[in-house]
C-alpha cells in the first residue's frame, strides 16, 4: 500500500462501512481515478469484502477506473442539450478525436464522457473541460474548441 493511500485511510475510523463512499471520493480526488490495487486495502479498512467495495464503486457515476486523458471533455447529457443537438456533437467529437465515449486517445491526450445534466440548460448545448464551459456549441465551434485545447501549451 503506498503512503498516500494509507494517509487517506488513517483519517477514517476503522471498520465503519459508512465512510466507504467518502474514502473512495478522496482516493479518486488524489489519483484521478480508482486504481485496481486499492480495493483490497480499502475493503480491509472498512471491514467489507473487496467485491462489495468494488460493487459500491461501480454503482455510482462519479467513480472511474482508468485515468482520464490529459484533456478530459465532459458533454452534458441533459434534456435541453439533447434537444439542441448534443447527439450530432457527440458523433462529431468521436470523429475528431477518433475515440468513443469513455476511451482515451492513443497519445493519452483526450478523453470524453457524457455526464448528467450540468445544470446550465439555458445555454444548451454545453460542454466543459478543465473548469471551462462552452455554451451553444455547434459542430463548427467544436472543431475550433478542439484546436484551442490542443494548442494549450501547459498540456502538451
Amino acid at each position: 500500500m503506498d503512503q498516500e493511500l494509507s494517509q487517506i485511510l488513517e483519517r477514517y475510523a476503522q471498520g465503519n462501512p459508512d465512510t466507504l463512499i467518502s474514502i473512495l471520493q478522496e482516493v479518486q480526488r488524489h489519483y484521478g481515478y480508482l486504481p485496481e490495487g486499492i480495493f483490497s486495502h480499502i475493503a480491509r479498512h472498512v471491514g467489507m469484502a473487496p467485491s462489495r467495495v468494488y460493487g459500491v464503486a461501480t454503482f455510482y457515476d462519479q467513480f472511474r477506473f482508468e485515468p482520464a486523458g490529459r484533456i478530459h471533455i465532459r458533454l452534458c447529457a441533459g434534456t435541453s442539450c439533447h434537444l439542441e443537438g448534443m447527439p450530432s456533437l457527440t458523433r462529431e467529437l468521436e470523429r475528431l478525436l477518433n475515440i468513443k465515449e469513455g476511451q482515451v486517445s492513443r497519445d493519452g491526450m483526450f478523453s470524453f464522457e457524457k455526464v448528467q445534466c450540468l445544470g446550465v440548460c439555458g445555454h444548451a448545448p454545453v460542454l466543459e473541460s478543465g473548469g471551462r464551459y462552452w455554451e451553444g456549441v455547434t459542430p463548427e465551434k467544436l472543431r475550433e474548441i478542439i484546436q484551442e485545447l490542443k494548442s494549450r501549451p501547459s498540456l502538451v
Partner: protein
Amino acid sequence: MSTTSTTRAGKDEWLVGYLLDTTGQHSDQYAERLRILRNEKLDKPLITLLSGSCSQVHKVEDIETAIQHYLEDNQRDARLIRTACNGLCAFGPQMGIQLPGKYTLLLQKVDTGDVFDILDAALNYNADPEHILCQIPVRGAEPWPGIQLFSQLPMIQGQKRILMEWNGIINPEQIDAYIAHGGYRSFIKTIFNYPAARVCDLIEESGLRGRGGGGFPTGRKWKIALNAAADQKYLVCNADESDPGAYMDRELIEGNPHQVVEGIALAAYAIGASKAYIYLRHEYTLAIHRLETAVQQAKSLGLLGSNILDSGVSLNIQVVHSPGAFVCGEETALLNSMEGRRGMPRTKPPYPATRGLQGKPTVVNNVETLANITHIMAHGPRWFMDIGTGNSKGTKLFSLAGRVKYQGMVEVAMGTSLRDIVYRMAGGVKDDSNLKALHLGGPSGILLTPDELNTAVDYEDLKSLGAGMGSGGMIVLDEHACLVDTARFYMSFMQAESCGKCIPCREGSRRMLDILHSLTHRPANEAGHETLERFKGVMQLESLAQVMKDTSLCGLGQNAPNPLLSALTKFRDEFEEHIFDRKCRANVCRELRVFYIDVEKCTGCTLCARKCPYDAIIGSPQYPHFVVEEKCTGCGICQAVCKFSAVFIR
C-alpha cells in the same frame, strides 16, 4: 467542539443579541447597523455580479477583472460583491449597480468589453439604456426615471417569489446579510418558545406538502418521526437533484444557502434530531462551497452546534457529497448510499420516519420543502394557507428549458396555469414556432399537449392528467423536436439509471429501449415482416409498462414508462409515421433520413460522392449524381459538404 459562547465571533456578537431580542424591545439600537447590512445606506456605489453556476459559462471572472481594472484606472471607489442567479438565465450575465440613494440598476447581457462604458455612464448617474433590464427598489432610496421595475418585467409578473425573493440580491456567503433580511429569527424564536410537537402541528396546519415529487404532507411525516421512540434521530436534506433539466435546488442553495440551513435547523428541532445531513450532488461545486460556508458561519455564530445559544438544543449539520445516481433521489436508496452501500431502494414499510438511517427514525425532505419551513415559521401557517389552491398550498419552483424564449427559473403560486408559465413568464416558444408538447417532471414525467396547458399547478389537477408535481423540470418542445426520440432519450436515461434490483424495471426498461431503438433506426434489411414485428413491439409496450408499474419497488421503475406511454397515447401519429413511412417529421431521427440530389442544381463536382463514407452516391463527373437509397444511412455529410445546396432530405 467547544460550546457556543466561546466560538462566537467577537465582531458579530451584536447579531446574536439582535436575534435573541425576539420581542423587538431593543430594535432601535440595531436598526442602523441592519440598514447598512441590507445595503439601504451606502457610502459608496455597490456593484453586484450575479454569478451562480452559470457564471462559469459566462466567464464572470473576466467581467470581475474588467470592473476592478476600471475602478483602479479611474480611481473610483466601489464595493464589488458576488451574488447568485435571480432565475432570469436568459438575460445573463447580469450585473447590478446601486448608487447611494438610488434604486439598483440591473443590467443584462454584460460583456467584458462593455464594462468600461457601462460603469462610466452608471457611476456618473446616467443610465446606459442599451444594457438596462430593470431597476430593483431599495428602501429609502429614489427610483430612476423611465426604467421599469423588476416586478414589472413580463417574466416576473405573475410570479410569486417567496423562496427566491433574495436570489441575486443577497450575498450568499455572508450570514450577516441573511440575518439583516430577517433570517434565523424564526429559528431562534421557535427553539425558545415552541415545543417540538407544536412546530409539527403548525407545519401540518399550513398544508405544506413535499416538493420532491410524492406530495406527502410534511407535518404528518415529522410527527411520525417525533413520536417514534429512539435515542437518536436524523434529518436528511435531499439535494441529490439528478433529473436532467431541473436545477431548482441548486439555485436555492447557491442563491440563499442560509434559508435552506435555517429550514433544516427548524425541521431537525421539530423531529428532535441532533444530527442533520445534506445529501448534495458532487457536481454542484459552487453549491457545495456555499452550503459548507453557510453551515460554518452559522456554527461560528453559535446558531448551530451543541447547546445553541444556551437553549439546550443541539444540532450538527454535515454536507455529504453524493456520488451520483439518479435512483438515490428515492429516500431509502439515498439512505443506503449514505451508509456506504449501493444506492438501491429498500422495501417500505418500515418507512424511514420510523426506521431510516442506521435503523433510527429519519426524515428525508427535499431542499425546496425545507426552504419553505423557514417562511412558514416566520409568518405562520395562516399566511401560507392563503397562497395556493384547496389542497396545494404555497409556491412551486420550475426550471424552464427547451425551446422557450426565456429559459430560467420561475416561482409561482400553486394554481397558476401552465399556459401562463410558458407564454407569459417564459415568453412563449423560441423563434415563434409552434408548441408541440410540454414535458413535465423529467424522466418519470409525462408529455402534455398544448390543449392541456390550461391545467393549473396543483397536486390533484396534475395527478388527474397522470403527471406528478415531480421535480419541477419543464421542457418545452416545438416542431423541431421528435417525440419518439424524446421518449427514447428518457427511456435510455432510465435504463442506464435503473439500479437493477427489480427485474421488471431492469429488463423492462431495456426491452422498451430496444423497441424504441428499432423505431428510430432503419432495419438492416426489409425482408420478412419487419414492419409488422416492430408494430407488434409497440402494441406490447402498454402491457409491459403495466407490469413495470405493478411490480417495481420504487418510483423509478413505476414511472419509467410514463414519458413513453404519454407520447404514445397523445402523439400516436408520429409513432405510426416512424413505423410505416420510416419518416421522422422533425428530421431528428437521423437514421431514418434519406437524401436525394436535385438534378437541376447538381453540377457533378463529385465532392459528395468522394465524401460519402458508405459509397451511397453514384455519378460521373460533370453529370448530376444520385443517392442509392439502400446504402444511405442518413449521416448528412453530403448535405454539409455540397457547395451548391443540391442535397435535400426526402
